[in-house]
Symmetry: C2
Subunit: 280 residues, 2 copies
């Protein structure tokens, strides 16, 4: 049995399926995603390029709105309001990080919930908690899809999540609670992290800390999901010491090629779901 959960492969399958759905729209207008970028952050440029390319591959219209580094908060708000009321736009995402003079919370709050392709708005997150959403933050959405794809049981299973960010740890915890898992959320203050992790059926590391998860954190029956996206010694890597952990566990996602590709696929799926909500 192959232990490695091939997120790249599954993301491509999802993209192909989405592409077919969009082709079948026939004469109707195509879904459209707008990405807002402020300034010219190097990493952002790369992420945005990947997102636009992914849109193109499945037939979603991707458009970049790039604003100057010194745009005023009030002007940015005005621009987003124009995009909110544009009926040809289904999804709007604000590429983070924003310059320090911009109030991030106000900006992400102002994106219309009906266009919240990133799933970061309070109303989307509240509905995620209430199990009443079909839009989810893209990374947790991708993780749950990977677990379902591999038919990994969640009901009654002990899931340990390392990390409590607004875009991964917390929404993911709520989603897995709603799926009847027993969920433990750890953070940098957690005592005996190693011992807590070692007892998990599913361990999800979203700590952003290279080599955090070693062989001492895992067991033979465990599924390990590595959400880390770190650079160490010039190399892209996750949170898990992959080679040594691979030998022990049942399933593991690699970095790259695990959670990463799923995140973009789920962003596209959110956009399509927002499109369908609008068209129905």
């Amino acid at each position: 049995m192959n232990k490695i959960i091939d997120g790249k492969y599954y993301a491509q399958e999802l993209n192909t399926s989405l592409k077919n759905s969009i082709e079948q729209l026939n004469k109707k207008r195509r879904p459209k995603l707008v990405i807002i970028q402020i300034g010219n952050n190097f990493a952002s440029n790369k992420y945005i390029k990947n997102k636009l390319k992914a849109c193109e591959n499945v037939g979603i219209i991707g458009e970049l709105k790039k604003y100057s580094e010194d745009i005023k908060q009030s002007e940015l708000v005005k621009q987003i309001e124009i995009l909110n009321s544009d009926l040809t736009i289904d999804g709007i995402i604000v590429q983070l990080p924003l310059p320090s003079h911009i109030n991030e919370k106000e900006i992400t709050d102002i994106v219309s919930p009906s266009k919240d392709a990133d799933g970061f708005s309070p109303i989307t997150l509240g509905n995620v908690m209430l199990n009443k959403s079909n839009i989810y933050p893209a990374t947790p959405f991708g993780i749950v899809k990977l677990l379902d794809w591999k038919k990994i049981n969640l009901i009654g299973e002990n899931v340990v999540i390392i990390g409590r960010s607004n875009i991964v740890g917390k929404p993911l915890a709520n989603m897995l609670i709603n799926r009847s898992a027993t969920v433990t959320i750890c953070n940098t203050k957690t005592k005996n992290l190693k011992d807590i992790c070692k007892k998990a059926d599913i361990l999800i590391s979203a700590a952003g800390s290279p080599n955090l998860v070693t062989k001492d954190f895992v067991n033979n029956n465990m599924t390990v999901i590595d959400v880390g996206a770190n650079f160490k010694d010039g190399k892209y890597c996750g949170d898990v010491k992959f080679e040594e952990v691979l030998k022990i566990v049942k399933y593991i996602t690699p970095v790259p090629g695990g959670v990463g590709p799923m995140t973009i696929a789920c962003l596209l799926e959110n956009t399509f779901n927002l499109y369908k909500q609008k068209e129905n």
Copy 2:
């Protein structure tokens, strides 16, 4: 040292302090809370009476809007919209349960977030998750206040919550995650519930199951918060076998007189916070 956390006493302290704040408003209008009741549920009548009395005690105007059991969804929506736009009303709560022909989610969603005294709306819950709210579901709000009152440390502590409801377990988990606790949320499918609980520093039972938490669930250093509000053999009781657990643990809330009085005090505090947001 007294082991029993006297929620009744602390709630009265909070109410006295709130009463003083409201008296100091002087000429300004007083805060106002409207309770919507559909039909004539026996338990609801009792809860509403308590809430109205609590309002009166602190100087909040409490008003009951009672509608017939067979009110139509559309008519109820219209009534709530009228209350939403009434500038003299600060808080609106919909007393649950609603009759089965009413769509509860639509009704609670329609209450304006700026008047969401119960803290049940998606946007409030999303902001609770994001740690950006000053309104919280009243029961979790009361629990956190009790822990703070007793100066019980949360940072890095192992908190176990039994129960994952929308009004207690899930919002409470998010609030304690934001306070840097290591939080485990259990449900009826959890394996080895007893063992998981036994290792907690703080155990919070919101299962609604009398006598669930026995001496085998606890340890000497533990704080036990009993959120149960059950009737067994005609007697009001919590989830915890109080007498036997009391002997072992460090702190415990009684039922009645623990979490219950705090819930109403926090509903009043939410109403006052909504009032202040409007007046400022």
